[in-house]
């Protein structure tokens, strides 16, 4: 059990920066997920914590000790790899006990720990098998078992579910969460899948281009993204972005103008916050698809009508995704399956302005 701290951690490969100054504090027992697109530096950051990559600059501390020059084996960490990295010539028991055997633990203690981990992961029957005789999900469990038996200060997961099929991935995601609830070890988990990030994490770290964009609890990232990148990355389908202008409206209010014909009234409580941006160029209006719904009956407060012609509809069963264009920008909305949406048909939608975001393109920040 330990906290992990990263101070201005930098990694460059032949003058190409991969990680460009990451500051992060991970609390003891916390489950942190690093998420971001390919090449954002999340795996490199994890591998630096593991000691598999040298740190170009900065400082990494585990449990209060600087570990920059400590080899992986002395960092008291355990890692689960994307392709499991099980030793193919060893049985499951030998795989799981390998680390303990190297540390010369007594045989009885090794057996106790492996049995305990096997029980937690429900792989007791597989202990005598070789990795080749296991399914993808079972191998994943063994890889986790190998980490658990070590009882390390920190668990590191490097995209552990990306080799599994969709159904198994959901199942294993739940397993990982359950295991963490049982063993409560500080965990750093890397994924490019935002659903994994949101469902597993105590706090999510969104990375882009070698830098941290935002750190926060899953709901905070969703409802209050700090940057355009986070706003667009978290949530599926992604947030709609439309270039806009802010204008003064009657009664001291503001309106956000998307096109010559379409303008929405900005909710009163946001007027003061948005006021400095009136008349400024390079602003973007952001609204999630779930906040563009079918206009049923009377509109609620801060909801405004939007008449559109649908280009494509995607029935998902519990809802229908509708796509339409405003001035050449394609947008998405989520409507009830009974709302009568059809390809090429007209539709009146409700935009929930209470959930809108205003992005300053000059800084990339959400206002």
């Amino acid at each position: 059990m330990a906290n992990v701290e990263l101070h201005k951690v930098v990694k460059t490969y032949d003058n190409t920066p991969a990680v460009r100054g990451v500051d992060l504090h991970i609390d003891d027992k916390e489950f942190i997920v690093l998420v971001g697109p390919s090449g954002c530096g999340k795996s490199t950051t994890l591998r630096m914590i593991a000691g598999l990559e040298e740190i170009t600059d900065g400082e990494i501390m585990i449990g209060g000790d600087v570990v920059n020059d400590v080899p992986p084996k002395d960092r008291d960490i355990a890692m689960v790899f994307q392709n499991y990295a099980l030793y193919p010539h060893m049985t499951v028991f030998e795989n799981m006990s390998f680390g303990l055997r190297l540390k010369r633990f007594p045989k009885a203690e090794i057996k106790r720990r492996v049995d305990e981990a096997a029980r937690i992961l429900d792989i007791t029957d597989l202990l005598e098998r070789k990795p080749k005789q296991l399914s993808g999900g079972q191998r994943q469990r063994v890889a986790m078992g190998r980490a658990i038996v070590r009882d390390p200060k920190v668990f590191l997961f490097d995209e552990p579910l990306s080799n599994l099929d969709a159904k198994l991935r959901v199942q294993m995601r739940t397993e990982i969460k359950k295991v963490h609830q049982k063993v409560r070890t500080t965990t750093v988990y890397v994924t490019h899948d935002q659903v994994e990030a949101m469902t597993l994490a105590d706090r999510v770290v969104v990375m882009n281009n070698g830098l941290i964009e935002q750190v926060g609890e899953p709901n905070d990232l969703y409802h209050a993204p700090a940057t355009k990148f986070v706003a667009g990355f978290i949530g599926s389908p992604a947030m709609n972005f439309v270039p806009c202008r802010l204008e003064k409206a009657g009664g001291g209010g503001l309106s956000v103008r998307l096109t010559d014909k379409i303008a929405f009234t900005v909710p009163a409580e946001r007027t003061r916050r948005y006021e400095p941006f009136v008349g400024r160029g390079r602003l973007t209006f952001g609204l999630r698809p779930e906040h563009v719904t079918d206009a049923r009956g009377a509109l609620e407060k801060d909801q405004q009508k939007l008449d559109v012609t649908l280009t494509v509809t995607e029935p998902m069963g519990m809802e229908t995704l509708v796509y339409f264009a405003i001035d050449g920008t394609e947008l998405c909305g989520r409507v009830s399956p009974n709302a009568g949406a059809r390809d090429g048909g007209p539709m009146t939608l409700a935009a929930h302005l209470g959930d809108m975001h205003l992005i300053d393109e000059d800084t990339g920040k959400v206002v």
Binding site: K73, M79, F81, Y87, P88, K132, R150
Partner: protein, 286 residues
Amino acid sequence: MQRKSTIAFFMALPLIALIATLVLYPAGYAIHLATLNKSMERFVGLGNFFFLFKRETFWMVVQQSCIFAITAVIFKALIGFVVAHFVHNIPARGQRKWRGMLLVPWVIPPAMSCLAWLWLFDPSYSAFNWILALFGIEPVPWTGHTGWARFSVILVNIWIGAPFFMIMYLAALKSVPEQLYEAAAIDGASWWQRIWYVTLPMMRNIIAITALFSLIVTFANFDIVRVLTAGGPIDTTHIFGTWSFRVGIEGYDIPLGAAVSLFMVPILAVAAVFILRDITRRGNES
């Protein structure tokens, strides 16, 4: 069904014919030769073999062949493994160059490189003895004394054969997933433990097959001994191939030469069965 297997047989016929002409016929003919008398006129059954059993030189050749092949293969494997590791750790850009240079001994025709070695081993004018003389060490009779001559032929065989092991092990090393080493490093394995618990088990099949292949080739070696020592001094460096040539061609007793060369078959067959059985077993379990 009947038609299909007939077609299959005819399609495989060229290969069957090739094997029959190049493998079965010479093998059968060698066995046939080994059962004839010296003038090749009379069938003597196993007479040649019983004659060999009674000759001291034969048993010395058996012993020398085993020493020669086993020692050489062990050292070729060891050196190949170590060098492969070094080459594997050279950054990709310089690696090709080193790989190419290290393969040179294996690529040069052995008869030619052995001539160069012959000069290096020359008792009076050789570079080796000249260097030894610089340090005040007495000249060594490299090919003139039984012990040294045996050492020399093995040394040259290792020099020629180690690059083959190197290239095979290098290919095997490259196929070991990097993440296994990373997992082992995190599990707490030292450099040596990573080799012992990850590299060696992952390479076992390649090591076994390479060793078997090399054992066969080394056992049947001819050119190195022929050029360096011609079996001398007093037949002590003869191995099956060279002694069979000495007896059969130079001694005008072809049936006896054939009998000598046939002795390699059972010895190698036993080694092959053991090694291949091990590979099959492991192939099934992993």
